[in-house]
């Protein structure tokens, strides 16, 4: 593992992020990542955050057209309300703050506390919960569907809307609609190892894979024997399409989980496009690469977003962040 010590992983990585991206302002002491430019007066500010280990999420999406600030927590551990409050105060331009929160108990509780604190400060706040992971079938007896790849779509579309002059309620609605239009499913070929434990997070047999894995290595629907890429792609396409009728055009994120080469992701992507085509779904926008990783986990996740026309326009709007940049 390329680390100096388990305790300094996040701080050391933030130092590198700052060095690599002059368009970002990294406040190492308060553990927040901001745009170098101040928020345009009146623009709603987008703040997200979560445990580290999913890079480029979220700090890699800070910049024009997406987030105004990100709060990185410890590896796989939600950030604390102090970070969220500091970030919100730093980027509020009078237009209020939208918290984009992935549905994990820790993230939900800490952002909830931050929202209460923000209200005391007189800053208007809205929270949008991202929960696109169809692998979680039983929401009654679990913490509910997890937030994964839809985060990228929601941060992009809502960020673009804010840039174009939408108010806080409208921006929040765009994020909610985007989340509702997305479904994801992940497949792990092996576990990931956190720097703190130095041990694999779960055990998989030599020829075993986890179908429906979560971004921290949470278990999915079942374990299955290893199969060719085309079959795995078909399983993922089937899972997302069984959950939502995409009816026509879709935007697709084929996401590498950290230890699967782009070569392999392209193999899977080809099968995904074929599989969606068979079901009458045409891919009109795509991202293939690492956007929501899980440390060193081998595998992929598929996110399909129904291509509602205004969402596609917002997706196409200019963006300039470390991990996504076009049109500007």
């Amino acid at each position: 593992m390329l680390t100096n010590s388990p305790e300094t992983v996040v701080a050391d990585a933030l130092a590198g992020l700052a060095a690599a991206h002059p368009g970002l302002r990294v406040d190492a002491e308060r553990r927040i990542v901001l745009r170098a430019e101040p928020t345009r007066p009146g623009k709603p500010a987008l703040v997200s955050g979560g445990g580290s280990g999913h890079e480029p999420l979220h700090a890699g999406f800070v910049g024009h057209g997406m987030l105004d600030a990100a709060c990185p927590g410890e590896v796989f551990t939600s950030p604390v309300p102090d970070q969220m409050l500091a970030a919100a105060q730093a980027v509020d331009g009078g237009g209020g703050v939208l918290f984009v929160v992935k549905n994990y108990t820790g993230d939900v509780l800490n952002f909830q506390m931050a929202a209460e604190l923000l209200e005391d400060e007189g800053i208007e706040a809205r929270t949008v919960l991202i929960n696109d992971d169809v692998a979680v079938e039983d929401s009654l007896y679990t913490a509910g569907r997890r937030g994964t790849g839809a985060t990228v779509f929601a941060e992009k579309t809502a960020g673009a809307a804010a840039e174009l002059g939408a108010d806080l309620d409208t921006v929040a609605r765009i994020a909610e609609r985007t989340n509702a239009a997305c479904r994801s499913f992940g497949i792990a070929l092996g576990p990931c190892t956190t720097p703190a434990t130095g041990r694999p997070g779960f055990d998989l047999g030599e020829n075993e894979i986890e179908l429906g894995v979560g971004i921290h290595g949470e278990p999915g629907r079942r374990r299955a024997p290893f199969a060719p890429a085309d079959e795995l792609a078909e399983i993922a396409v089937d899972a997302v399409c069984a959950d939502l009728d995409f009816g026509g055009d879709a935007m697709v994120l084929l996401n590498g989980m950290g230890a699967s080469p782009l070569l392999e992701l392209y193999i899977v992507y080809a099968a995904v496009v074929r599989g969606l085509g068979k079901r009458g779904v045409r891919v009109v926008r795509n991202l293939v690469g690492e956007y929501v990783t899980s440390l060193d986990m081998p595998g992929f996740s598929l996110t399909v977003c129904r291509a509602e026309p205004d969402l596609v326009d917002l997706w196409d709007a200019p963006v300039q962040t470390p991990a996504l940049r076009w049109g500007r």
Partner: protein, 235 residues
């Protein structure tokens, strides 16, 4: 419940021999005891961090010990700068520190537990067992409300709830502070053990479904540890 009433019987038997001496020095739960508890908790959590993280690794992501260790170290550092005048203020300060340093679900949950308990203690300089039981009840209610967990969901509530019950029973029986806290710690330890066969319904472990059975809940384990440290500090 049989075990709990058995313990209460033991408690009363002991009470007969210890009461005259204990009553004189039963200062209740005051700021000094609160500070002694939480400072000792930092050592205990650091010592047990590996065990707590291993429990978490089995059904979560293996960082419960690391996260609590960071939080309680910050609490101990804060208390070393100065101890507030009332036990309520000690707990509120601790709760705030935990919320600011732990992260994950444990930070807000433990933070709310201590903050709500502290607030319920009010301005009192020393809480007797009844006042402590009432305040602790408010704290556990805050945790249940925030996390949405009930008894049997395989969470810290499974250790907290029996501990509160034990404390309330101790108050009714007129048991002195140190002994009441020992009964509460024992109840929490049993409650934590009873999470082993349960299936998790909250938090990250819930995604394991039946695969979460057969493992002690790390949150219930850390709750039992913290209450044992409190009982030891009061003894």
């Amino acid at each position: 419940m049989g075990a709990v009433s058995g313990m209460a019987d033991d408690g009363r038997a002991e009470l007969g021999t210890a009461s005259s001496g204990a009553e004189a020095k039963d200062g209740g739960f005051d700021a000094a005891l609160g500070a002694a508890w939480l400072t000792a908790a930092a050592d205990a959590v650091a010592r047990e961090a590996e065990r707590l993280s291993m429990l978490d690794a089995a059904i979560g992501d293996g960082d419960h010990g690391t996260n609590l260790k960071r939080g309680f170290a910050a609490v101990a550092a804060k208390l070393a700068e100065g101890v507030p005048a009332t036990p309520g203020a000690v707990l509120v300060l601790t709760g705030r520190q935990l919320i600011s340093t732990v992260g994950g679900a444990s930070g807000p949950l433990y933070g709310s537990l201590l903050r709500a308990t502290g607030k319920a203690l009010g301005e009192t300089e020393s809480a007797d067992v009844a006042a402590l039981a009432a305040a602790f009840t408010a704290g556990v209610e805050a945790v249940a409300k925030l996390g949405g967990a009930s008894v049997g969901d395989k969470t810290m509530i499974d250790a907290l709830s029996p501990a509160v019950e034990a404390l309330r029973a101790a108050a009714e029986d007129g048991v002195p502070t140190a002994q009441a806290l020992d009964l509460a710690a024992r109840a929490a330890e049993e409650g934590a053990q009873e999470t082993v066969p349960l299936r998790a319904r909250k938090g990250r472990a819930s995604y394991l479904g039946e695969r979460s059975e057969g493992h002690e809940d790390p949150g219930a384990a850390s709750t039992a540890l913290l209450l044992r440290v409190l009982a030891d500090a009061a003894a």
